[in-house]
């Protein structure tokens, strides 16, 4: 991981999320720790059910009614968990903004883009409607929506998918937040549009110094955008390291499996190495490592005890949660091949 940042925008300590269901409690997120400095990008990678979305929803106080969070989410030292909705509303959309996977369901179809954007400024900045409108047009210009002056009066359905995502980003950036949480922002978009949005996020980060928390299952997007990467599986952090370490020196069997299962444009190997088995059933997780059921290098204690998230070695800042040492894994992988 990169050096400890001078100003921490966000510190998450021992965050856990559980849901009460008819089948008993479901532990969606368990003991997650991370911090984010100004202008940094952290990627949270995981497959469906890994707990990556619930982690950020919990941070923002947006959990479903049967969910509850424990631990600490510190924003400049102030714990966001347990804040009243009014106190949270002063922070959400202002200091911390969020964009979602599907822009159509996050924009109000009955209101013009202008009304939705000026509302943010009137609420958080106390601006008048006319000044707010000018500021909103500037924001649309910043995300490169052509002819923003006219298009600001459009309804969401009059924009294409990529344009709608740009409107979402413009709206999120209106108050120049310190932290932008992006939950699968490019998943619903085509490849060429995805590339446009990725470049846009990179530029905005450079220009405004916004920290970005990026949630995705697409390792390609992570590679281009993130400084650090946290890999989650079954509600737990498997590995947390710099992007270079994750892609070039992955130390967890799950991370290695994910990378081997991914077809690459610049690669011509004949067969993908798939991870056997099915995604974890969150109702029936083993007491040990959630990945143990699908891991090739599983041993008895993996099923019974959860390995701690520890430094890879003394010299490294990379964290991993696996009973087997990296050397052990390397040796076993070599003898497999």
């Amino acid at each position: 991981m990169s050096d400890a940042p001078a100003t921490k925008v966000l510190e998450v300590k021992d965050l856990s999320v559980q849901f009460r269901t008819n089948d008993g409690a479901v532990y969606a997120v368990n003991h997650v720790d991370f911090e984010l400095g100004r202008g940094q990008t952290l990627g949270i990678v995981g497959e469906s059910g890994s707990g990556k979305s619930q982690t950020v929803l919990a941070m923002m106080g947006l959990l479903a009614r049967n969910g509850s969070a424990s631990g600490q989410v510190l924003h400049h030292g102030r714990n966001l968990l347990g804040l009243s909705p009014t106190a949270l509303n002063a922070i959400r959309g202002d200091r911390i903004a969020m964009i979602f996977q599907d822009p159509m369901t996050s924009l109000n179809p009955y209101l013009t883009v202008e009304r939705q954007m000026t509302e943010v400024l009137e609420l958080h900045r106390g601006m008048g409607r006319r000044a707010a409108r000018l500021r909103a047009i500037e924001a649309l210009d910043a995300v490169k929506i052509p002819d923003a002056r006219r298009r600001i009066d459009f309804y969401p359905h009059e924009f294409s998918g990529g344009m709608r995502q740009r409107v979402m980003i413009a709206m999120a950036l209106l108050c120049e937040p310190e932290l932008l949480i992006a939950d699968e922002p490019t998943t619903a978009l085509d490849a060429t549009v995805q590339a446009q949005i990725t470049v846009l996020l990179r530029e905005l980060q450079r220009d405004f110094g916004t920290a970005i928390l990026m949630i995705t299952h697409d390792l390609g997007v992570v590679a281009g955008l993130c400084d650090d990467v946290m890999v989650m599986y079954g509600g737990r952090v498997m590995e947390h390291a710099s992007a270079d370490d994750i892609f070039h020196r992955p130390s967890h069997p799950y991370t290695r499996g994910l990378l081997a299962a991914l077809p690459r444009l610049d690669d011509t190997s004949a067969k993908l190495v798939s991870i056997p088995g099915n995604p974890p059933n969150m109702n029936e997780l083993p007491p040990g490592c959630p990945f143990s059921a699908r891991c090739r290098y599983v041993q008895d204690r993996c099923v019974t005890t959860m390995p701690l998230l520890q430094r890879r070695d003394v010299a490294s800042t990379a964290l991993r949660a696996c009973h087997r040492s990296v050397a052990e894994l390397d040796a076993m992988e070599a003898s497999d091949a």
Partner: protein
């Protein structure tokens, strides 16, 4: 020369669309979802079809099964023409051409057991088979796709996405078809499961000599599985090339842009990459640009591009591209 299994010539699928505000006597506009696409598919081969949403790839797949009747052009199955209105001929052809869909759960009837879902094609196409024979065949095909015999009486909702896709593949396989059309079969699946399904399809293809039409918007997956790739944009073929050649030296500017947009899971490559971004959005399919449909976003467009619609033209032994500016290459 091998005989093509499926030949598609100048296929057109046009839809009449009417603006709700328009007067009833005005002529409806025409949406050309697929416009003049031709290709041949040979036994045992995989043809990949790529393109962004709205490019007509799914419409093309459905037209190849007459699920959406073509409005123009011809389809030949093993050399014999299949007319859109010839229901009987299509019913027979569908014994050999099967399809699997994108959303694995939505394409399975929630009120039928897995055994009935997989066996249903036999009841339609092979009504002479006894229940015992159907049961035996269902079990055999379930084993082939990696489902266990105990799962035969379960319902689709009891399965994960990857397993549902296995059920869909089993249903397509049970008639022992010669061609399976895969319409975004892995898009809805997690990365670790996606590799399982891609490997399964490749293994089945090798074992049974199946031909595949593999439709996806994920170019990396298409490259991995395909022998040849057809690139579509606004219902038109932009490029048809051998898979390796397409990725090594794309002939059409659209293919080049598309390839440059795919992120590679390697931070060292990704951070230094110069992206070739396309300006603007896809134009309205009701009112496509004159000449080359891609010219409004093409970084290389010139005046000549607005003239005639460029047909697919051979650039070298492995590549054809529909671009007037593309240069022929030796080889």
């Amino acid at each position: 020369m091998r005989e093509a299994l499926l030949s598609v010539r100048n296929l057109q699928v046009h839809f009449k669309v009417r603006d709700r505000k328009a007067w009833p006597w005005t002529t409806p506009a025409t949406l050309k979802a697929v416009d003049g696409v031709s290709f041949d598919l040979y036994p045992g081969e995989t043809l990949g079809i790529v393109g962004e949403s709205g490019c007509g790839k799914s419409t093309l797949a459905r037209a190849c099964l007459n699920l959406i009747p073509a409005t123009g052009g011809e389809i030949f199955w093993a050399g014999k023409p299949l007319r859109a209105d010839d229901e009987r001929a299509w019913l027979a052809a569908r014994r050999d051409i099967q399809i699997i869909f994108q959303d694995p759960l939505a394409s399975l009837n929630p009120r039928m057991t897995v055994g009935r879902i997989i066996g249903e094609p036999l009841r339609v196409h092979r009504p002479e088979l006894s229940d015992d024979e159907v049961h035996r065949k269902v079990l055999a095909v379930m084993a082939e796709v990696g489902l266990t015999a105990q799962q035969i009486n379960r319902y689709p909702h009891e399965f994960s996405g990857g397993q549902c896709q296995r059920i869909g593949i089993a249903r397509a396989l049970i008639l022992e078809p010669k061609l399976i059309i895969c319409d975004e079969p892995v898009s809805a699946l997690d990365v670790s499961i996606r590799a399982q399904i891609v490997n399964l399809l490749q293994e089945l293809q090798r074992r049974k000599g199946l031909a595949l039409i593999f439709i996806a918007h994920d170019l990396a997956v298409v490259k991995h599985i395909s022998d040849r790739v057809l690139v579509l944009y606004m219902g038109k073929a932009m490029e048809l090339a051998e898979s390796d050649a397409l990725y090594a030296r794309p002939g059409h500017p659209y293919t080049q842009a598309l390839l440059s947009a795919i992120p590679i899971p390697d931070p060292r490559i990704e951070r230094g990459k110069v992206l070739q971004l396309l300006p603007g959005d896809m134009p309205s399919p009701i009112d496509p640009p004159s000449g080359c449909v891609f010219r409004t976003r093409c970084p290389k467009a010139q005046e000549i591009c607005a003239g005639d619609k460029p047909p697919l033209r051979r650039l070298d032994s492995q590549t054809s591209a529909a671009c007037v500016l593309a240069v022929e290459r030796s080889g």
